[in-house]
C-alpha cells in the first residue's frame, strides 16, 4: 500500500470520524497508562515492573530480565531480600541484595546493599556522604521475574533513534488506519 492510498482513508473521513480516530488513539495510550497506574495502586510501588540493566546480580538476575515488584509498607525489609532502590543524583533505580540491616524500636530501618556479582558493597554507589539506605529510598522488593523479555527495552534505551522510529510508525499506523 503506498502513501497516497494510506492518506486516502483519512481524507474520506468526516469531522466526527476524525475525532473518533484521535480519541481511539488516545484510548490505546490511556489503556496502557491506566493499567500501569492500576498496577501501581495494587502493588504499592511507584514502578511495579523494572528491567535489570546490569549484570551486577548474576547469577540471580541477568541483563534483560523483567522484575515484578511490590512495596507494602507493613512488610518489613529483611537481610537477603532483593530490593530496588533509588539514589539521589541517579535516574536509574538499582537492583541489589540487602547485606546488613539495623532496625530501631520505633520501626525505622537503615540497611546496606551489595550486588551478588560485585566484590564490594554499594557505599560507593550511594550519594556522597550517604552510608545507609532507608525505607524511603526503596522502590520495591522483587517478587518474581521473567527472563529476556526486557531485552527490547534495553535495545530501545541504547538506540534512542530505533525507539523513536518504532513509536512514530505505531502512532502513524493507528492514526491513519480506520477501525
Amino acid at each position: 500500500m503506498d502513501v497516497a492510498t494510506l492518506f486516502d482513508d483519512v481524507k474520506r473521513m468526516n469531522k466526527r470520524q476524525f475525532l473518533y480516530q484521535v480519541l481511539s488513539f488516545g484510548m490505546i495510550v490511556s489503556s496502557a497508562l491506566m493499567i500501569w497506574k492500576g498496577l501501581m495502586v495494587v502493588t504499592g510501588s511507584e514502578s511495579p515492573i523494572v528491567v535489570v540493566l546490569s549484570g551486577s546480580m548474576e547469577p540471580a538476575f541477568h541483563r534483560g530480565d523483567l522484575l515484578f515488584l511490590t512495596n507494602y509498607p507493613e512488610e518489613p525489609v529483611r537481610v537477603g531480600e532483593i530490593v530496588v532502590f533509588k539514589v539521589d543524583g541517579r535516574d536509574i533505580p538499582i537492583v541489589h541484595r540487602v547485606l546488613k540491616l539495623h532496625e530501631k524500636k520505633n520501626g525505622t530501618v537503615k540497611f546496606l546493599t551489595k550486588g551478588d556479582n560485585n566484590s564490594v558493597d554499594d557505599r560507593g554507589l550511594y550519594a556522597p556522604g550517604q552510608l545507609w539506605l532507608t525505607k524511603s529510598d526503596v522502590v520495591g522488593r522483587a517478587r518474581g521475574f521473567l527472563p529476556y523479555v526486557g531485552m527490547v527495552t534495553i535495545l530501545m534505551n541504547e538506540y534512542p533513534k530505533f525507539k523513536y522510529a518504532v513509536l512514530a510508525c505505531l502512532g502513524l499506523y493507528v492514526l491513519v488506519h480506520r477501525e
Partner: protein
C-alpha cells in the same frame, strides 16, 4: 450530484488488483468495499430522499471515549503534581472509573449501536417524524452482505424493519470497485418496501 460524479471518477482511475487466492487481501478489499457501500447508503438516504442525518448515536460514543481519555489524562497530571503515595486515592478512583467507562463503551457499541452506521430523520409537512436506521454486517469468511433498514415512527415508536442478504458480488464490479447504482437500487427497494408496508396497514 457533482461530488458523487467526482467520486466515481476517482474510483475508475484506481483499479484494485488483488490475488484472489490471498485470503487476507481479498478480505481487506471486501471490507473496503463494504465501507464504500455504507458510505453510499448514507449518501443515498441523505441526498436522494433529502433526509437529515442524525449524529446522536455517534456523538454518544464520542462522549464516552472523550470522558475516558479525560479521566486518564487527569490521572497522569495528578500523579505528576502529587507523586505516587500521595496520589493513591485519586489514582484508585481514576483507574476504576476508566475501566467502568471501557465497559460502558463495549456495551454501547454492542447493544445500542449494533452496526448502525447511518441514522436519518425524515420530516413530513404534518410534523410527523420518521427515523431511518441503516445497519450492516458481514460475517467472517462469508460473502453475504446483510443490509438492514429500520423505520421507526417518531410518535408511536413503532418499528418495522426489512433486510437483504446478498453476496457482495452484487455491489462490486470485476475491478473491485463499488457500483453506486446497484447499492442505491438495493436501498431504494428496501426503502420502498418499508413505505408500502405502511400504507397497506
Amino acid at each position: 450530484m457533482a461530488p458523487k460524479e467526482k467520486d466515481s471518477k476517482e474510483k475508475e482511475e484506481k483499479v484494485v488488483k488483488i490475488n484472489k487466492w490471498d485470503g487476507s487481501a481479498v478480505k481487506n478489499a471486501i471490507d473496503d468495499a463494504v465501507r464504500d457501500v455504507s458510505l453510499i447508503v448514507n449518501q443515498c438516504l441523505r441526498k436522494k430522499y433529502n433526509y437529515v442525518e442524525n449524529f446522536a448515536l455517534m456523538d454518544g460514543r464520542l462522549t464516552i471515549c472523550g470522558i475516558a481519555v479525560a479521566v486518564a489524562m487527569f490521572a497522569l497530571l495528578w500523579d505528576y503534581l502529587y507523586p505516587f503515595p500521595q496520589s493513591r486515592p485519586v489514582l484508585i478512583f481514576c483507574v476504576a472509573s476508566y475501566f467502568v467507562m471501557m465497559g460502558i463503551l463495549t456495551l454501547y457499541t454492542n447493544y445500542k449501536e449494533k452496526g448502525i452506521f447511518a441514522v436519518c430523520i425524515q420530516k413530513d409537512s404534518s410534523k410527523k417524524e420518521i427515523i431511518w436506521e441503516a445497519s450492516s454486517f458481514l460475517a467472517k469468511y462469508d460473502d453475504k452482505y446483510n443490509l438492514t433498514l429500520v423505520l421507526v415512527d417518531g410518535k408511536t415508536k413503532q418499528r418495522r424493519e426489512t433486510s437483504s442478504k446478498k453476496s457482495v458480488a452484487n455491489f462490486i464490479d470485476v475491478n473491485g470497485s463499488v457500483v453506486p447504482e446497484q447499492v442505491e437500487a438495493e436501498v431504494s427497494r428496501l426503502h420502498n418496501s418499508l413505505l408500502n408496508e405502511r400504507k397497506t396497514k
